[in-house]
C-alpha cells in the first residue's frame, strides 16, 4: 500500500519523531523516513532468511534421530523455523517488498543470513547444542525485538519468542540425556560445545565500538541493547547451564568478575566471523545451493496451483454469468 499522507514533509517527520519519542509503534501505512524503512527491510529480510536457512543444519539429522520421540520433536522444531521465516516475510512485505523478490535476493547472495548456519552439524550432539546455545543466543537477541518500534516486526517477534522457549528446552533436555549416558556420549557433547561456543558468541556481532550502525537503530527504537550487552547477558546465562551439564566452555579467559558482577570472557575471532558471513564458511555454498534447488524445484508446483486457481475462477465466472 502506498502512503497517501499529504501533509508537508517536516510535519510528517515531526509526527514520526513524536511517535518514536512516545515509545509508540510505527504502523505500515504511517509515513516513515526512507532510511528507517530500508533498515527494517534489510533487518527483517535477513532475519527471515536466517530462519529459513537455519532449517538445513538441523534438517540434516531428522532421518537419523535416534528415536521416534526425538524425530517428532526435531521435525516440529524445524517446522517452527519455517513458520518464523513466514511470519517475518509477512512483516517485511508490509514495508513494500515482495517475498518472492526477497527469496531471489537470498539465492543470489544479495542479502545474507546469520553466520551461524554456515557451520556443519557433524554429530547428533550438535542438535542439542544448537537448541541450547544457538536458539539461546537467538532468544537473547529476539526478546528485546518484541518491543521494536515497528509494529508488524514486534508482533512477529512475540509469536517467535513464545516458540523459541521450546527450542531451547528440547536441546538442553537432549544434552542432559546424553551427559547422563556413556563416556562416549559425554565426549560427543563436549566436542560439540567446543565447536559451537565461539560461533554462538559471534551471533551478537562485533564489539560496540566497531558497530556504528547500532546507534541509529537504537535511536529509532529498533534495537534496544548493544551487541556487547546482549553478549554479556548470554555468557552469564550460559555458565551455570554448562555447569549443570558438566561441560566446559572452551574459553581459558572465562572467569567471574566480582567487581562487575559479570563474567569476563575472551575475544571471538572476528576475522573468522567476517570470512564466514562473506561466504568462506564451511557450508555457505552448500546452504545457498540447497535453497536455490528447493526454490527452483518448487516452481512447477507454484505455477500449477496458479493455473488451477485461474481455471476455477474462470469456471465460477461462467457459472455466475449463466445462472
Amino acid at each position: 500500500m502506498t502512503v497517501t499522507d499529504e501533509r508537508p514533509h517536516h510535519a510528517l517527520e515531526e509526527g514520526f519523531d513524536a511517535t518514536i519519542a512516545a515509545d509508540q509503534r510505527i504502523e505500515p501505512r504511517d509515513w516513515m523516513p526512507e532510511a528507517y524503512r530500508k533498515t527494517l527491510i534489510r533487518q527483517i529480510a535477513q532475519h527471515a532468511h536466517s530462519e529459513i536457512i537455519g532449517m538445513q543444519p538441523e534438517g540434516n539429522w531428522i532421518l537419523r534421530a535416534p528415536s521416534l520421540r526425538r524425530k517428532a520433536i526435531l521435525l516440529a522444531k524445524v517446522q517452527d523455523e519455517a513458520g518464523h521465516g513466514m511470519y517475518l516475510y509477512a512483516a517485511a512485505e508490509t514495508l513494500g517488498v515482495d517475498r518472492e523478490e526477497l527469496t531471489e535476493k537470498l539465492i543470489e547472495s544479495k542479502q545474507k543470513y546469520s553466520s551461524i548456519f554456515n557451520y556443519p552439524t557433524l554429530t547428533y550432539a550438535d542438535i542439542g547444542v544448537i537448541g541450547w546455545l544457538v536458539d539461546g543466543a537467538a532468544i537473547c537477541n529476539q526478546v528485546p525485538l518484541c518491543r521494536c518500534s515497528y509494529g508488524p516486526y514486534a508482533r512477529a517477534m512475540i509469536r517467535i519468542c513464545k516458540e523459541e522457549s521450546f527450542h531451547q528446552r528440547q536441546g538442553f533436555e537432549l544434552l542432559l540425556a546424553m551427559v547422563n549416558g556413556t563416556d562416549a556420549q559425554r565426549e560427543m557433547v563436549q566436542e560439540s560445545v567446543n565447536r559451537w561456543w565461539w560461533p554462538s558468541l559471534m551471533m551478537f556481532g562485533p564489539p560496540d565500538d566497531d558497530s556504528p550502525n547500532s546507534a541509529q537503530s537504537m535511536a529509532w527504537g529498533i534495537k534496544r541493547h548493544t551487541n556487547d550487552e546482549l553478549r554479556q547477558r548470554f555468557v552469564d546465562m550460559s555458565v551455570p547451564q554448562a555447569a549443570a551439564l558438566g561441560v566446559t566452555l572452551p574459553d581459558p579467559d572465562l572467569v567471574w568478575n566480582d567487581e562487575r558482577q559479570a563474567h569476563d570472557y575472551g575475544e571471538p575471532d572476528w576475522a573468522e566471523f567476517k570470512a564466514v558471513i562473506a561466504g568462506s564458511g564451511p557450508a555457505n555454498a552448500q546452504r545457498i545451493a540447497h535453497r536455490r534447488r528447493a526454490h527452483e524445484n518448487g516452481a512447477w508446483v507454484r505455477e500449477a496451483a496458479q493455473a488451477f486457481a485461474d481455471k476455477q475462477q474462470a469456471a465460477d465466472k461462467h457459472a455466475g454469468a449463466t445462472a
Binding site: 497517501t4 533487518q43 513458520g83 517475498r99 523478490e101 531471489e104 537477541n141 551478537f204 558497530s211 572476528w270
Partner: protein
Amino acid sequence: MSEDFTAEGGHGAVPTEGVETGQGKPARRTWPLYEVFVRGKRGLNHVHVGSLHAADDEMALHNARDVYTRRNEGVSIWVVKADHITASSPAEKDPFFAPAGDKVYRHPTFYAIPEEVPHL
C-alpha cells in the same frame, strides 16, 4: 574491521552495508496476498495475526492453519484477499475521526451525579 556488520536480525549478526532491499516488484507473477484472522477461542473476536500468499481461498485457509495455529492458537480462521480490504488512510486520520473528538457527552463521565445517589 567490521564497521558494516551488526547483530540486527534476531538470529545473529548480518551485514548492514551493501545489502539490496528490493522494489516490491518480483520478476514473476506471484500468488495473491491474504490477510489472516484467528479466533483464539469461543467468545473472542477474530484478530488479525499476519498474512500469507496462496493461489486460492482454500489454499490460503490451509496455509493459515499451518503457519498461524501450530499450537491450538485458534478455533476458527478467516482469510481475506488483501486487495479486498478498504482502510482509512493515514492522511485522513485527523478529519476522519474528528466527528468523535468533540462529543464528550457520549461518555458517562460527562455527567455529574451527586455521590449519595446509588447504582449510577
